[in-house]
């Protein structure tokens, strides 16, 4: 039996791997075994595992933020019509649209009037709002943002307890 990898030498090692729930048998020669065990070892290190996870999440990540869960608008829809579906779209498509806003307005710094109801908004809605944002941040593995949101949420909940 020839080696499954190099197809040159006689296979002496018989390896059974489970890949995507399927049992795969491999017959490998001495030389290729060395290379393969090296690969296996590396695969088992934690950073390697994480990269693998992040990689799968990367492709995942590209899909998740491209759709606004609140209004259902996809980034493709936005690109077609250049209209947002709701206010949350601005956060969901943030990375994609910031350059666009900069291009349109030449600035990304708001200096207009502050919404009078902002304060009210912070106290009434934001625990719910923050939780949604926190969940999303965790989903997207934006841990820094998630940590920030968690702290903000804690503070707010304490504040609300006190005011009660």
């Amino acid at each position: 039996m020839l080696c499954d990898i190099c197809h040159k030498n006689i296979a002496t090692v018989h390896l059974t791997e489970i890949i995507n729930d399927k049992v795969v048998e491999m017959h490998i020669c001495q030389n290729c075994t060395k290379a393969k065990t090296q690969e296996l070892k590396e695969n088992l290190t934690i950073p390697e595992l994480l990269t693998g996870l992040i990689d799968t999440n990367e492709t995942h990540k590209k899909e998740v933020p491209l759709k606004c869960e609140f209004c259902g608008l996809t980034y493709a829809d936005f690109k077609k019509k250049a209209r947002f579906g709701c206010g949350r779209c601005y956060s969901v498509f943030k990375v994609q649209i910031m350059p666009l806003l900069k291009k349109i307005h030449g600035s990304l710094t708001y200096t207009g009037k502050s919404g009078i109801n902002m304060q009210k908004d912070l106290f009434s809605n934001s625990v719910k709002e923050l939780k949604v944002r926190l969940e999303r941040a965790i989903k997207l593995e934006e841990y820094e943002e998630a940590a920030r949101l968690r702290d903000e949420l804690k503070k707010l909940e304490q504040k609300e307890k006190l005011s009660r």
């Binding site: 209209r83 579906g85 601005y90 307005h105 109801n117």
Partner: protein, 349 residues
């Protein structure tokens, strides 16, 4: 509906106010959205109805909204909607698919709040002549007052969030309508428009659709709404409008100096045509009215009043003619009625 508007004398269309011989009117618009609903283009009929109802339940408590009417667009007939469009109280977009759309209109036509247009609220204040500040103060008060009842979609770093990214930030659009016949006549207008575009100001025709500026009326507005405060946006526009006004005055002086006879000939010919025509399209009528209006500004003709002339600009539009006649007019018939109305008005003086 709206018959009384036809006789409104003191609206923003009256042609009074500062520098009104060149700057016909001023307008400031703010766009706002409810934070808990998708924007109108993505909202369901039920959601739009909820927004409409919540505004209906609070608008009487909002400051500056006295003597207003609340309308559901689906209850407004098509001709009346066209009529409102011709008076620049609603937009093209607001004409279409009336379900779920609303309008709060002050009886002096100086305030118009479109509900569920592209944004949940498009609040506009108008004034005749050059008076952006007054418009801003009016609409700012309404906005502050409205914000006590409604949670607007807002992000501290980006400001007010709107359906179109070009409106985000202050969501403020200020505009002035200018009558620029001399710049058009001397062909300097193209240079002016080019320069305006370069410094991020938009220009478009006031009458008709698209970019064609019928009757030499141009609407100049700001394009940038993020990075500047509201007073800055308004000051910048005011500065630019003032410049264009000066350019028009210059061009008028040159016309008077170099082409006086030709100009006089044009003015009187237009007067003659309008007083005698039996069929006239709105395009032709607008162009003669424009020349007549210039003749009035330059003292070539003085037997007609500005008020009458400004009124003619508006009432010769199709839906207005039909409101005056109180019946539906076929397209060919309109040119006949238009000519008749213009003759009556101009010969009755």
């Amino acid at each position: 509906m709206f018959e009384e508007l036809l006789n409104n004398k003191d609206t923003w269309l009256s042609g009074k106010g500062p520098f009104s011989e060149i700057i016909f009117s001023s307008r400031v618009r703010l766009a706002r959205n409810f934070s808990d609903y998708p924007f109108p283009l993505r909202a369901t009929t039920i959601q739009k109805e909820k927004i409409l109802k919540s505004i209906e339940s609070v608008y009487t408590k909002v400051s500056n909204l006295k003597n207003v009417i609340f309308l559901r667009m689906e209850e407004v007939s098509e001709i009346d909607r066209q009529f409102l469009l011709e008076r620049h109280l609603i937009s093209q977009e607001h004409m279409r698919a009336a379900k779920g759309k609303g309008l709060i209109l002050s009886l002096d036509e100086k305030i118009a709040l479109m509900i569920n247009e592209e944004d949940h609220l498009r609040m506009q204040a108008m004034a005749s002549g050059f008076d952006l500040k007054k418009c801003w103060e009016t609409i700012n008060t309404i906005d502050d007052s409205m914000a006590q009842f409604v949670n607007f979609s807002f992000m501290p770093n980006l400001g007010y969030l709107t359906s179109c990214p070009t409106n985000a930030g202050t969501a403020l659009r200020a505009s002035c309508m200018l009558h620029l016949p001399a710049l058009t006549f001397t062909k300097r207008i193209n240079k002016v428009l080019e320069l305006l575009a370069k410094i991020s100001f938009a220009t478009r025709g006031f009458f008709g659709e698209g970019t064609q500026a019928l009757g030499d009326f141009f609407q100049i507005s700001n394009q940038i709404s993020l990075g500047l405060s509201e007073p800055e946006v308004i000051d910048n526009l005011a500065g630019v409008v003032n410049q264009v006004k000066e350019q028009e005055i210059d061009a008028r002086e040159i016309l008077l100096k170099k082409h006086k006879l030709g100009l006089e000939d044009n003015v009187w010919r237009s007067f003659g045509i309008l007083r005698n025509c039996r069929l006239v399209s709105s395009k032709e009528a607008l162009s003669h009215l424009s020349i007549l209006s210039l003749g009035l500004d330059l003292g070539i003709i003085n037997s007609i009043s500005r008020e009458l002339l400004n009124n003619l600009f508006i009432i010769i539009q199709p839906a207005h003619l039909q409101k005056i006649e109180a019946r539906v007019l076929r397209e060919g018939e309109r040119d006949f009625i238009r000519a008749q109305i213009i003759r009556e008005k101009l010969n009755g003086i």
